[in-house]
Amino acid sequence: MVSMTGKNKSRGAVPPDVAQQIDANLKRLYSETASEELPKALSDLLTALREQENSNGSDKA
C-alpha cells in the first residue's frame, strides 16, 4: 500500500522537481513553433506593411 501522507505539501504549490518537469515539457511543446518558418500569410502581411511604409514615406531623400 502506498502511503499518501508522506509529505504534506501545501495546497497550490508543486514540488520544484514537478514544476521543472512541467516547464521542460512546456518548453518542448513550444520550441518547435519557435523554430518553424513564418507562415506565408504572415510574411505577406509584413511585405505589405513595408511597401505601404515605403510609399507613405517616399518623401525621404
Binding site: 502506498v2 514537478v18 512541467i22 513553433t33 514615406g57
Partner: protein
C-alpha cells in the same frame, strides 16, 4: 530630429518586431491551443503593433510591449466569445486520463489540452514564465500586474497541470510508476 528622420528611425525600429514573431506565435498557440487561431492572433498583433508603433517608447521592452498587444487582443476575442467558451470541461478532462511516459515526458496533445483547462490568467503566466522563459518581472509587465501575482498564478497553474496530467505531487517522484498507478486507481472521492 526632423519629422522625416523620426519616421525613418521608427521604420527601422519596427523591423525588430519581426525578431519576436516566433515567440509570439508560440505564445498564441499556447493561449488558443489552435494553430490557425494562433496565426490569426499573431497577424492581428503585427497589424496593431505596426500601426501603433508611435505608442511604443523606444528603449523600453519591445518584447513585453508586443506580448501585451497579443494578450489584450486574445482577451478581447475571448470576451466576445464568452458564451461558446463555457464549453466541454468534462469532455476534455475525460480524455486526460493517462499518466506520463516512464521518462516523464508528457504526451504533447495532453499537455496542450490541459493548458486549455487553466483559467486564462494562469495559462498566460505558465506560458510566459514556464514555456517562454520570461522573468517574473517581464511577465508582470506584459500582463499589467505585480510580480507576486505572476508567481502565484504560475504556481497555481503548474499545480493544476500536475493534477490534470496525473503527475502526483506527493510521492510520484520517489517511486513514480507505482505511486502514479496507485493514485490513478483511486477515485477522486477517496483521496
Amino acid at each position: 530630429m526632423s519629422a522625416k528622420d523620426l519616421r525613418a528611425a521608427s521604420a527601422d525600429a519596427r523591423e525588430d518586431i519581426v525578431t519576436h514573431l516566433p515567440a509570439l506565435r508560440a505564445f498564441a498557440r499556447g493561449l488558443t491551443g489552435d494553430h490557425a487561431a494562433a496565426d490569426d492572433l499573431v497577424q492581428e498583433t503585427v497589424l496593431k503593433a505596426w500601426s501603433k508603433f508611435h505608442l511604443y517608447k523606444e528603449g523600453t521592452n519591445l518584447r513585453a510591449w508586443l506580448f501585451t498587444i497579443l494578450r489584450n487582443t486574445f482577451l478581447s476575442v475571448m470576451r466576445k466569445r464568452a458564451r461558446e467558451v463555457s464549453d466541454s470541461d468534462g469532455a476534455i478532462a475525460a480524455r486526460l486520463s493517462s499518466k506520463p511516459d516512464h521518462d516523464g515526458r508528457l504526451a504533447m496533445q495532453e499537455l496542450n489540452d490541459a493548458l486549455r483547462q487553466l483559467p486564462v490568467a494562469q495559462r498566460e503566466a505558465v506560458l510566459l514564465v514556464g514555456a517562454l522563459g520570461f522573468s517574473v518581472e517581464e511577465a508582470a509587465e506584459t500582463c499589467g500586474c505585480a510580480p507576486g501575482t505572476i508567481k502565484s498564478r504560475a504556481n497555481r497553474g503548474r499545480a493544476t497541470l500536475a493534477k490534470l496530467l496525473h503527475m502526483d505531487t506527493e510521492d510520484a517522484m520517489e517511486d513514480s510508476d507505482a505511486s502514479v498507478a496507485a493514485v490513478m486507481a483511486l477515485s477522486p472521492d477517496s483521496l
